[in-house]
Symmetry: C2
Subunit: 395 residues, 2 copies
């Protein structure tokens, strides 16, 4: 029986993935196909199917559980629908900056999409020191377009509220609520850190001013439906090379505060600013951060002029919205810096540093800078002040 | 064919409403029933059915259109489902403070509920000078309970997000977005005001500081899913006497900012503070406002102690949440004061004043106080400061 005729969810293997690809007419029946599962197996299966080594297709399938560091818990596969819908909407608003979706099937929790394996994962490329001359322009544009065009400034209120419902994403949001906003700020079991960091973390856990500010940021994350976020915009969710940038994996997409995506992207670049020793190469990262914000805010402002909402013509309102997004970004980036250092999910930028003292030094800088960004976000009034803060904490 | 067997929506009349009541077993087949349509016919039909003059039942049915001041536009009847669901939830959290729902039918858009005609509409009672010694206690409790127990502080994140979807209410929210937050602040066709107010209104329409602050309040209304609101908590949505208080008509219910319900209630009391000439009777109103806030904040704080959310134990977070709700309330009450004076939907408190100069004076006070509350809400730090502002503007 062909996989196309299956009427309930079942997880694919390399053989059934190939059969599905043929049944969906991506290849001829007699094609000589190669299929490899290339995912990390924590949340999804990812099959790459090629014919005679030519550019092929990707079949991504959500698994009915999540596995992180050995632990496993049940999870519905509704995130596959959300991811496919988000990718389609992002392609409309930011064409060329996401993988193309060729087909999606909510029942099988499958998305068939463009094979991007000619590109590198941005995090690995940055660690390797590769140049990404178009990164700021591309991500700034991606952020401005996807966030503006899904906001109340662009959409009819009925359409916006339909999207809010469609992209309601309780399960994946809960992962962020716990792992980004809660656990790292308490002595939680999920935390994972080198023991030398314990004294500094104990300071955090006893710091009521810090926790109050994180409470406000978490409140913003769970209550403010400003725009459709990617929801997980770190440098591992981006494929890139010198010319191309493709944002992948929007399974955490939901309606949230505009500053969250921007903040996560800034934080994940900041790990590079912290770990790069050469001053020129450190400055390259700070320039990407600066330029991303500039492209974002200029492009968002340009779209704003086209809005049909009467209040967008009111003097000062655009500045208010951008300033809120900016200060929120700073706070959210602080949370990301801390959780990637002391929480459950780490980054190779830090964990990959070989010398122990050097690694601990970078981790301490991430933690302190994270606290600083959370506590003082409302004092920051320009991207230059933000990058100066990063510069001071990373030298 | 009996109305019970009908498989699609049709609007009731006094005869079919009686048949429905019998078919649903609220009365015997041979009961001697009286049925009167007592609604205002703008959005709903409201039938009161009694047997031999004894306490009966109310059948409320949503109409597939809205009619305001002669104009009519189509509207789905989904609000009947929202109203019935909201009433059931409010009865759980604030028992005795809403009419009991006996039956609801989403297809017919019908809610069968408790007959409250032994009570008076609060607005009429206040205009008449009736005493309402339990009003502050009851409404303060209603607000604290319904808002706290539907918030993220009380609910599991999955349940809360399910409610957010269930109570998505685009059509009714749009009425508020337009009539409360937009039209009165622009020279809009829907506005309705006595021509002598035009000079003051022109000031408002040209006041960019005022419009910027209203833009922020509207942004809060459309993006901040803090709790399940009643959504239309004016003194015409409350039945009361010396002992009882019943909040009716939550068809505007949706997830929004906590301060909105509080602000609308305060504003509608404020019309009485403005129009009452006797100082003692004016102070009675100010005391109701003060006590409502006190009961609300004390009860909300008591519930907060029971929260399972780790951040509710963080010093300063409750104060932050209450202060935000308070300042939001002040701003929202300012919008309500202005829109009920110059917008489409008016209040009898003002329009019922007979002498023209006296009426215009009260309306000018409403408008000025509204502006003041919107512009200076962030300077207010206690309910006493708020009532002092009302006192100064209403004398």
């Amino acid at each position: 029986m062909s996989i196309k005729a299956i009427s309930s969810y079942q997880s694919l293997n390399e053989q059934t993935a190939k059969e599905l690809a043929v049944n969906l007419n991506f290849f001829e029946e007699d094609a000589d196909l190669t299929c490899c599962e290339i995912g990390d197996g924590n949340l999804n299966l990812v099959f790459r199917i090629t014919e005679n080594g030519k550019k092929g297709i990707i079949i991504k399938q959500a698994l009915p559980y999540a596995k992180v560091v050995g632990e496993s818990w049940p999870l519905t596969v509704d995130r596959a629908r959300i991811e496919a819908d988000a990718l389609k909407l992002q392609e409309i608003h930011a064409p060329g900056l996401v993988p193309q979706v060729y087909h999606s099937d909510d029942l099988l929790a499958v998305t068939v999409m463009e094979d991007l394996s000619f590109l590198n994962i941005l995090r690995a490329g940055l660690i390797n020191g590769d140049p990404f001359p178009h990164l700021a322009e591309h991500i700034g544009t991606f952020l401005a377009n996807t966030l503006y065009f899904t906001s109340d400034y662009a959409l009819h209120p009925f359409k916006k509220k339909e999207y809010v419902k469609n992209f309601s994403n309780p399960e994946l949001c809960k992962i962020t609520e716990d792992l980004v906003f809660t656990d790292p700020f308490f002595n939680s079991e999920t935390n994972d850190f080198e023991e030398e960091l314990l004294p500094l973390l104990k300071e955090f856990w006893n710091d009521f001013s810090l926790k109050l500010e994180v409470a406000k940021l978490k409140k913003s994350f769970i209550t403010e439906s400003e725009a459709l976020l990617h929801g997980d915009l770190h440098t591992g969710s981006i494929f890139a090379d010198e010319k191309h940038t493709k944002v992948i994996d929007p399974e955490f997409a939901f309606y949230g505060p505009i500053g969250f995506d921007i903040g996560q992207f800034i934080a994940n670049l900041t790990f590079q600013a912290i770990t790069r020793e050469d001053i020129t190469r450190k400055e390259e990262i700070l320039l990407i951060i600066t330029d991303t914000w500039k492209v974002f805010s200029e492009t968002f402002s340009k779209h704003w002029q086209e809005s049909g909402d009467a209040y967008t013509k009111v003097r000062g309102y655009l500045e208010y919205v951008l300033n809120k997004a900016f200060q929120d970004s700073a706070g959210f980036s602080g949370c990301e810096l801390i959780r990637r250092t002391a929480g459950l999910a780490h980054v190779e930028d830090l964990d990959g540093i070989e010398g122990k003292e050097k690694r601990l030094d970078a981790k301490r800088k991430s933690l302190s800078l994270g606290r600083e960004l959370i506590l003082n976000r409302h004092k920051l009034s320009s991207i230059e002040e933000l990058t100066e803060l990063i510069r001071n904490h990373s030298s």
